[in-house]
């Protein structure tokens, strides 16, 4: 950082405090640019594209070790799990069949009513590569990205229920924020009576909560919560959580319900990303969710 053109006798270098101030300013500008605007997405996705394969490569030996360990120690367990999975597969095929029938029936009824065809969804199978060290939220990295057609905002599910939402998309990888993350809120509906609630993550696996619950709300343990579809992000009817307990209000005017996620959040390595096939203009303002159990009991309007 010599200021003169000829080789100087005394090299003039900026002092440490000045250099520190410049770097700090650059950092603050970067933070501001990233927080407020979308300008740094290209840079970030470039670095991420270089880093995530390294992460994948580093994680692979551990996956192999884990697989070998599983194979040698819990072989019997694997056989059992295989049987269980086959059974579940049969059940799932049955459900899929039912769902196809319901979709066909629904499309027919809607065409009869002259309404728009409800959005169909297609799925992307993804595999979790890495759980991120992020002190603010629970995120995982999966092995599909914008090259495979993924985009932010899409819900991630497993065969039991909602897992999370795609929050960052890079060329060959994506970040998924899990529903147990403390900044994730999901609009849900109680299957039993159609009550609409918002369920939030707590930052712990296997635990969700309804934070501001009306103290007279009709919510009981073992109630199943499904997405209401009112946000336009999650399709209606995906199982989210089961109520574990409802705590009466203590120091606040609101009760609180503790729920357990139905999906294997943070446990499985495979999950599905739902892609909406036909982009719609927005959420439907009213109308019963697709789940038949809800529409049967939706006489009670919240």
């Amino acid at each position: 950082m010599a200021m003169t053109a000829q080789p100087p006798m005394f090299v003039r270098v900026m002092g440490l405090p000045l250099r520190f101030a410049l770097y700090a300013l650059a950092s603050l500008v970067l933070i501001g640019a990233d927080a407020r605007y979308d300008t740094l997405r290209l840079l970030r996705s470039g670095v991420a594209a270089a880093l995530h394969p390294v992460q994948t490569g580093l994680a692979r030996p551990f996956h192999y070790l884990q697989d070998a360990f599983d194979f040698f120690t819990v072989h019997g367990e694997l056989v059992q799990e295989k049987h269980r999975l086959e059974q579940r597969q049969r059940a799932l095929m049955q459900q899929l069949h039912d769902r196809t029938l319901l979709q066909a029936e629904n499309a027919h009824l809607r065409s009869l009513l002259g309404l728009a065809v409800p959005p169909g969804y297609s799925v992307h199978g993804v595999e979790v590569v890495q759980a991120m060290t992020n002190p603010f939220s629970r995120k995982v990295v999966v092995d599909r990205g914008s090259v495979h057609g993924l985009s932010t905002g899409w819900p991630a599910v497993d065969d039991l229920g909602l897992v999370g939402q795609v929050t960052g998309v890079y060329p060959t990888s994506s970040e998924i924020t899990l529903i147990t993350s403390r900044d994730q809120d999901i609009p849900v509906q109680v299957v039993r009576n159609g009550l609409r609630l918002i369920v939030s993550g707590t930052g712990q696996d296997r635990l969700l909560e309804v934070r501001f619950l009306d103290m007279h709300a009709d919510l009981r343990p073992d109630d199943v919560l499904v997405t209401s579809g009112l946000d336009g992000v999650y399709p209606p009817g995906i199982p989210v959580a089961r109520v574990v307990s409802v705590e009466p209000p203590r120091n606040s005017p609101f009760a609180r319900a503790v729920c357990a996620p139905l999906a294997g959040v943070g446990r499985h390595r495979q999950m599905l990303i739902l892609q909406r096939e036909t982009p719609t203009t927005g959420p439907r303002s009213a109308g019963p969710p697709a789940l038949s159990a809800v529409s049967r009991h939706s006489g009670v309007s919240p």
Partner: protein, 194 residues
């Protein structure tokens, strides 16, 4: 390895009284090679990318930051503010937080470390760890507070525990890198006392 010369010099010193006429300051230590500095930083960064158990993430120290501080203190010509800035940006992407948070914190910590390095070099590694502990804790705190300031609504304070953990790891890191860099294992201060 270049550690042969200092070893020989130390073993000879108590015997030869004639040498007391020559200056008896701390031994001269060859500056760490670029390969060692950047190699150890790369290894530390890769170590941070390993799939650590999710439930213990809050206790996993920031290895990159630890090794960066080591080189800030022991080889300031190779590891300055610019290196801290670049490593911070890489860490930001690896951890999926806002671009620049770790860069700012790393640069600030490197600034502090560069300012106090002359004093730190007079201490043994345990003393250095004790003096750097506030810096490690402050780094975790600063990351969390910056996240809070820039849009994160809820944060997990347990991640502060990674700071003291990193301070504890300062000792093995010193032991390892002293040996690799050809320093006497206990640092120049110990060599001076003999």
């Amino acid at each position: 390895m270049s550690s042969a010369t200092p070893q020989k010099g130390r073993s000879e010193r108590p015997r030869s009284w004639a040498r007391s006429l020559s200056p008896q300051g701390p031994q001269l230590i060859a500056p760490a090679s670029a390969r060692l500095v950047y190699g150890s930083l790369t290894l530390a960064f890769l170590l941070g990318l390993l799939p650590w158990p999710v439930d213990w993430r809050w206790l996993t120290p920031d290895f990159t930051f630890l090794v960066l501080l080591y080189w800030n203190v022991h080889s300031p010509h190779r590891a300055g503010l610019g290196l801290a800035f670049v490593l911070g940006l890489l860490t930001d992407v690896a951890r999926g937080v806002l671009f620049g948070i770790h860069a700012l914190v790393y640069v600030a910590a490197a600034f502090v470390a560069l300012s106090v390095r002359r004093r730190l070099e007079n201490f043994l590694p345990p003393g250095q760890a004790l003096q750097l502990a506030p810096l490690f804790l402050g780094k975790e705190l600063a990351v969390l507070l910056l996240g809070l300031a820039f849009g994160q609504k809820v944060i997990d304070w347990w991640h502060l525990a990674a700071g003291p953990m990193a301070a504890l790891l300062w000792l093995p890191v010193c032991l390892l890198l002293h040996r690799l860099g050809g320093r006497p294992p206990a640092g120049p201060a110990a060599a001076q006392d003999k």
